[in-house]
C-alpha cells in the first residue's frame, strides 16, 4: 500500500511527519499561490527555496514529494500570454528542483505538464473524475495518476469500470468528509481557488458554503454517514481497484496527520470516526461516531444503488450510532440524537 500524506508546507512540520512514521510513501503540499492556486485552504505558501529544501529532505528519507496546484478555476489567466509564461516558468522551476509529481485540476495543465515536463502528472479530485469516460479523457491528456472523485468511493461498479478503462494509476482519497453529491462542491472549490490563488483577494464576509455545509449536517446528521469516506478497516475492499491511497488534511497539525497515517497503515481505528475526517473540522467536537460500530456497513454500500429515499440504511445507521457531545453539570457527556423539541 502506498500512502500519500498531507503536509502544511514548512520544514519543521515535514521533519515531524517523516520522523513520526515509516508508513509514508509520498508527501503533498501546496506551492505559492502566486502562479497557480489551490482548491483548498493552506497554512503556508512555501517559496521555491523552501520547496527545494523540503524535496531534498523528503528524498533523503525515501519519500516522494508532490506539489498540489489544483485550482479549479484560473479565471482564464493561463490562457493569456503573460499568464502562460508565468505558469510555465513556475513549472520549470519545480521540475528543476526535482519535485516528483504535480497535482492539477485544470485540464490544460494536465496536457502541458505531460508534454513539456518530466514530473508525474496527477489529476486532482477537483477534476471530478467520477466515470470511466472522464478517466479515459484525462489519461488521453497525459495523466499518470488520477485521484478519483470520492463521490464514487462507494460505487464499486463505477470504480471497477474506471479501473478497467485506463492503464494509469488510480488514487483514492480516503478521509474527505464532504457531503455525498454535495450541491456546493463546485462553487466552494471555485471560491477557494480564487481566495487561494493569484489575482486580487476578495474581502469575504463569510464562507457561505462552509456554513451551509455544517448546517446541513447538523440539521440532518445522516449526511455524516452518507459522506463517501473509507474506513481504515475497509481498505482491503478497494485493493482490486488500487493500492494508492491519499489522506486529506493539509491544514492539520502533524499529530493529527500521524494519527491518520497510523490508522490507515494499521487498517484499524478504535475511536471517533470524526477524528479521521479532514472536513468538516468544526463539528469534530460535536458528533461522536464510533468507527468500530461502522463495521460491516461496507457490505451494504458495496451493493448500494444510491436511491436513499427508498433505502434508508444510512439514516437508520445514523440514528443508531451517532452520539452528540453535550454539556451536563459542566461535564462533557455523549447523548443520542434528539428528535423532539419545543421545550
Amino acid at each position: 500500500m502506498k500512502l500519500y500524506v498531507p503536509h502544511a508546507g514548512h520544514l519543521e512540520g515535514l521533519e515531524e511527519l517523516l520522523s513520526g512514521s515509516k508508513n509514508i510513501h509520498g508527501i503533498y503540499m501546496a506551492g505559492t499561490p502566486d502562479y497557480v492556486g489551490t482548491g483548498r485552504t493552506n497554512l503556508s505558501a512555501p517559496g521555491l527555496e523552501d520547496i527545494a529544501e523540503q524535496t531534498a529532505y523528503a528524498h533523503e528519507m525515501g519519500v516522494k514529494m508532490e506539489i498540489v496546484l489544483n485550482s479549479s478555476c484560473m479565471g482564464g489567466q493561463h490562457l493569456t500570454a503573460e499568464g502562460f509564461n508565468r505558469i510555465n516558468w513556475y513549472f520549470t522551476q519545480l521540475n528543476n528542483i526535482g519535485v516528483d509529481s504535480i497535482t492539477v485540476a485544470e485540464p490544460y495543465f494536465v496536457e502541458m505538464l505531460s508534454r513539456e515536463f518530466d514530473m508525474e502528472v496527477v489529476v486532482s479530485v477537483l477534476s471530478f473524475v467520477d466515470s470511466p469516460q472522464k478517466a479515459e479523457f484525462y489519461e488521453g491528456l497525459g495523466a499518470d495518476t488520477i485521484v478519483i472523485d470520492p463521490v464514487i468511493n462507494r460505487d464499486f461498479k463505477k470504480l471497477e469500470a474506471t479501473k478497467d478503462a485506463v492503464s494509469c494509476d488510480l488514487k483514492l482519497l480516503v478521509n474527505e468528509g464532504c457531503l455525498y453529491q454535495c450541491p456546493l462542491r463546485y462553487a466552494h472549490f471555485n471560491f477557494f481557488s480564487h481566495a487561494n490563488g493569484p489575482g486580487p483577494k476578495l474581502n469575504v464576509l463569510d464562507d457561505y458554503y462552509y456554513y451551509k455545509c455544517l448546517s446541513m449536517r447538523i440539521n440532518d446528521p445522516q449526511q455524516l454517514i452518507k459522506s463517501p469516506w473509507i474506513r481504515p478497516e475497509d481498505l482491503g475492499e478497494y485493493e482490486h481497484i488500487t493500492d494508492i491511497f491519499k489522506i486529506g488534511g493539509r491544514t492539520h497539525f502533524p499529530n493529527w496527520i500521524l494519527n491518520n497515517v497510523e490508522a490507515y497503515a494499521n487498517r484499524s481505528y478504535d475511536g471517533n470516526l470524526m477524528d479521521l475526517l479532514d472536513c468538516p473540522r468544526d463539528i469534530r467536537d460535536l458528533f461522536y461516531i464510533s468507527n468500530k460500530e461502522l463495521g460491516g456497513a461496507i457490505s451494504q454500500w458495496e451493493q448500494c444503488n444510491k436511491v436513499c429515499n427508498k433505502c434508508g440504511y444510512c439514516n437508520r445507521l445514523a440514528e443508531k450510532i451517532i452520539k452528540v457531545n453535550s454539556t451536563e453539570d459542566g461535564k462533557n457527556v455523549l447523548k443520542p440524537l434528539k428528535f423532539k423539541g419545543g421545550k
Binding site: 457561505y208 447538523i218 446528521p221 460535536l286 454539556t327 434528539k338 423539541g341 421545550k343
Partner: protein
C-alpha cells in the same frame, strides 16, 4: 470562578437550551467576550446549524436564553442581535453588546429589526 470558566459554563448551558428547544444539535462553536476600541463591549456566540427560521419561530425563547446567558456573564443585555449570512438562512452568531455612544446612534436611528442585511435585532433597549 475565572472568566474562562464562566464562559465555558455559559456556552454549555446555552447550547443545551437551544438543542432542547429546536430538537437538533445546534452547535455553539465559540463564545467570546470582547472589548472594542470604540467602547463597545459584550459577547459573541458563534453558532452552527442555527437558521433564520429558528429565530423567526422561536424568537421569544431565543431572546430569553440569550438574555440569561448575557446576564450570567455580567453583560447588560441592552442590545441583543443575531448576525446572519446575508441573503441566506444561516445564522453566524448571536450577540449581546453594550453599545458605545457612537455605535448606539448607528443602531438606534432606525426602528426595524434589520438595520443591515446581516443584522437581526432581538432586543434594543432605547436610551433616554
Amino acid at each position: 470562578m475565572t472568566i474562562t470558566e464562566t464562559l465555558a459554563r455559559n456556552r454549555g448551558e446555552l447550547e443545551v437550551k437551544m438543542r432542547d428547544l429546536l430538537a437538533k444539535p445546534v452547535f455553539i462553536i465559540e463564545m467570546d467576550a470582547f472589548a472594542l476600541p470604540c467602547g463597545c463591549k459584550g459577547v459573541t456566540i458563534n453558532t452552527r446549524g442555527l437558521q433564520y427560521e429558528d429565530l423567526d419561530i422561536f424568537e421569544e425563547h431565543i431572546r430569553k436564553y440569550l438574555k440569561e446567558s448575557s446576564e450570567g456573564l455580567e453583560i447588560e443585555p441592552s442590545f441583543l442581535f443575531a448576525r446572519l449570512v446575508p441573503g441566506t438562512a444561516e445564522v453566524a452568531s448571536l450577540n449581546s453588546r453594550v453599545l458605545c455612544n457612537r455605535c448606539y446612534m448607528d443602531f438606534a436611528r432606525g426602528s426595524g429589526k434589520r438595520p443591515r442585511p446581516d443584522i437581526y435585532i432581538l432586543n434594543l433597549t432605547r436610551r433616554e
